[in-house]
């Protein structure tokens, strides 16, 4: 009985949404209002024309997320920090020693192939993540993407080499200092704009010449990207450590 009610109400929602979707502007149409924008005030033509010279990056999307809509990215790094704090609120921070059963010290059974491949690949994965962070301005990539790759590398390390070994390599007291680095760097860079007379998160100032402005904008973008990458990597590693639980066998 309950299933029938649920299915009927979902069917009504589905019909309503289909009715809406069929009336949306055609997909792929280069003249639609999302691409062209309202006449004279279209955001997308403005970003595509003036993005490179106003923000200093050739990747327009990085320009948008760090410069034009930087406040949203500020909120996003706060969201991921909130997730970390939330996980710490539910599960306390990890302890120094967790006893696994004698059978296995690490979640992955010992295997020569896995150990060797992981040992060889890990440095390259870290270098790749650094490449993705630093080249976010001129190609696809960016701060958060690179940070996630670095965190994935750290998680492989923890899975393969065991909890006790890894907690020695990434000690908790050292990680606490770096978790909040992304929102704090954003706020610090944003406040620079306040001191130079314009609004928050401004990277181009009328006091300086155009080339100096470009240098300032590019370097601030780079600092923020590295901070987002490093902060994101530390946050994911900390979340993974906090989720380790004692073996109850």
């Amino acid at each position: 009985m309950r299933k029938v009610v649920v299915l009927c109400s979902l069917l009504i929602c589905y019909v309503l949404l289909l009715f809406a979707v069929v009336n949306m502007p055609s997909m792929g149409d280069p003249d639609s209002i999302t691409i062209k924008g309202p006449p004279g005030r279209g955001a997308v033509p403005r970003y595509l024309e003036k993005g490179a010279e106003e923000c200093g990056g050739e990747n327009i999307i990085t320009d948008i997320i760090l410069n034009y809509r930087g406040y949203d990215t500020n909120g996003e790094v706060t969201v991921i920090f909130t997730a970390l704090i939330g996980v710490l609120a539910v599960l306390n921070r990890e302890r120094k020693k967790i006893s696994f059963s004698d059978m296995e010290q690490s979640p992955v059974k010992h295997s020569v192939i896995v150990y060797t491949i992981v040992r060889i690949l890990l440095p390259f994965i870290f270098i790749f993540s650094l490449y993705v962070i630093l080249f976010g301005e001129v190609g696809p990539g960016g701060g958060f993407q690179g940070g996630t790759i670095a965190a994935a590398a750290a998680i492989i390390f923890i899975l393969v080499f065991g909890y006790s070994y890894s907690i020695g390599k990434f000690p908790t007291s050292w990680r606490i200092n770096f978790e909040g680095i992304a929102p704090l760097t954003f706020i610090a860079m944003g406040l620079i704009g306040l001191f130079l007379g314009k609004n928050y998160l401004t990277f181009m100032f009328p006091q300086f010449s155009h080339t100096t402005n470009l240098t300032i904008a590019r370097s601030m973008l780079m600092i923020i990207e590295i901070a987002i990458g490093v902060g994101g990597a530390f946050i994911f590693t900390s979340i993974f450590f906090a989720m380790q639980r004692e073996d109850r066998s």
Partner: protein
């Protein structure tokens, strides 16, 4: 650099910066976390007071982040609805003051820096939500406050806390995704994410009107879950009664109002589309759901024995009042509804903090265990009595003003059934609050309640301040009304007809 010009953005960034450094401070000494949080929220209260005064004198403030323009940057728009920031930071300050002793006793001491960090993030999310003028920024701020809300409910150690938090999380996440989809629909037909621009260009999208209707429906569904309107209120009683008392005060008093502020912003966006969409039937349905919520919430509250469960159901009922006030498109009811947002926040925070003080001192939550507690904690029970009288709506407390306005509005709009629902709800509320007062004062006290043993000073001061505020706002109702009447009139003049 004129710092007052930058108050809108600093209002949001100060709590976030304080929350991010809270863990590092907690590493050194746990006691400093309380003072750091207090410092941050006091700065926010001062800034929001300054901003509200400025808006009252000169009108809405617009601040574009990054010194760009409104149509391609993110705008912060501080208007009359954003006067909620004063309410949010003021009540947040009192809740943090109250938490000093309560949290030290109630939760694991390793989690204390995490608790203060979550409270600051929640307040930052709420402040960001009410001041922003950009739709996607609204979504991001809503996620900050939702995630910290889920974590705050789950911070206790009992197993039922995690279950309540999970139910809250699933429902909250579904509503956030509905809102995200609705923002997508609105972007596809107007090409802009700024609320002013969307309001201007929505009437031009005449061929795509069904998309706007679907977006409206999805928005209402999303915000109704956040604001706990029947039948989407099922997450509220468990979550608000299981959480620690200052957290319950925060959630019941402020976070549910965010859903309503979201709906006000929605009406703001759709204000020029009145000729194309007929929203009368939708508002009618919501008004009926609100009336059901009023009666049902009050009805269930009568049969509860646990104080906090009773207060949680009473929140559900009062949210129904606010929705009823907003959906009868009539000036008196609208004023009553908006004033009730403020008054209910103050009253509910007062009641939950009193309940928290009682639980802290006696360790009992059930009414049947609390006979005669009025002798043990006279000041707390006196303030709770003032809160009780306010929520029933007896003059000269502030609860009377809003209920009176909503009832007059219902009669003026020729819908006497709604006024009857209001009366029933008030009668039920009266019944269960008489239960509380009876148990506290007139039943034979237990042995340990004979001695006077009041709550600590840091818990008493916020309670007494809030009780005084209830009486003051009831007697001197002119001041908030003078502020809210122009806002309500502007909302109504461009209202959807």
């Amino acid at each position: 650099m004129n710092i007052t010009h930058h108050f809108p953005i600093l209002l949001d960034m100060v709590p976030i910066a304080a929350a991010c450094t809270m863990l590092i401070i907690g590493k050194f000494r746990r006691e400093w976390c309380y003072y750091w949080a207090l410092f941050a929220i006091s700065i926010c209260t001062v800034m929001s007071a300054g901003l509200v005064w400025e808006v009252y004198k000169t009108g809405p403030i617009s601040y574009v982040v990054g010194s760009w323009e409104r149509w391609f940057g993110i705008e912060i728009y501080f208007d009359h609805i954003s006067a909620c920031t004063l309410l949010i930071s003021g009540l947040g300050l009192l809740i943090i003051i109250f938490s000093k002793h309560y949290i030290a006793k109630e939760i694991d001491e390793r989690k204390i820096p995490v608790y203060y960090s979550l409270i600051l993030l929640n307040l930052a999310g709420m402040l960001g939500f009410v001041i922003t003028g950009d739709l996607f920024n609204l979504f991001v701020m809503m996620e900050i406050l939702s995630l910290s809300g889920y974590a705050l409910v789950a911070i206790g150690e009992e197993r039922i806390a995690q279950l309540a938090a999970f139910k809250y999380l699933v429902l909250g996440a579904v509503s956030s995704l509905s809102i995200l989809m609705a923002i997508g629909f609105l972007y596809s037909i107007t090409g802009s994410l700024n609320m002013h621009e969307i309001a201007l260009y929505l009437p031009r999208a005449k061929d795509h009107i069904p998309v706007a209707i679907a977006a409206f429906a999805l928005f209402i569904m999303g915000f109704s879950v956040k604001a706990a309107l029947f039948p989407l209120h099922i997450w509220l009683p468990d979550a608000h009664s299981i959480a620690p008392s200052p957290v319950s005060a925060l959630l019941s008093g402020l976070v549910v109002k965010i859903g309503i502020c979201g709906l006000l912003r929605l009406l703001f966006i759709y204000r020029y589309v009145g000729g194309l969409i007929n929203v009368e039937p939708v508002l009618n349905i919501i008004a009926w759901l609100a009336a059901i919520t009023i009666v049902m919430g009050a009805f269930f509250a009568v049969f509860q024995d646990d104080i906090k469960m009773m207060l949680a159901y009473s929140t559900v009922s009062n949210i129904g009042y606010i929705f009823l006030g907003l959906c009868l498109v009539q000036s008196n009811a609208l004023i009553g509804g908006i004033v009730h947002i403020f008054n209910h926040a103050i009253i509910k925070v007062l009641l939950f903090l009193c309940a928290g003080a009682i639980i802290y001192q006696t360790g009992c939550r059930r009414l049947s265990d609390l006979h005669g507690v009025g002798r043990k904690m006279p000041i707390t029970m006196a303030c709770m009595s003032i809160g009780v009288l306010s929520i029933v709506g007896i003059p000269p407390t502030n609860g009377f003003i809003c209920k009176w306005f909503i009832a007059i509005g219902a009669m003026d709009a020729k819908k006497p059934l709604f006024a009857a629902a209001l009366l029933f709800g008030a009668l039920f509320i009266f019944a269960y609050y008489i239960k509380i007062l009876n148990a506290a004062y007139f039943k034979k006290p237990r042995a340990e309640f004979e001695k006077r043993d009041e709550a600590p000073m840091t818990m008493l001061v916020p309670i007494v301040l809030l009780a005084i505020a209830c009486l003051a706002l009831g007697v001197g109702a002119y001041f908030p009304l003078a502020f809210i009447k122009p806002a309500a009139k502007s909302l109504l003049s461009t209202a959807i007809r």
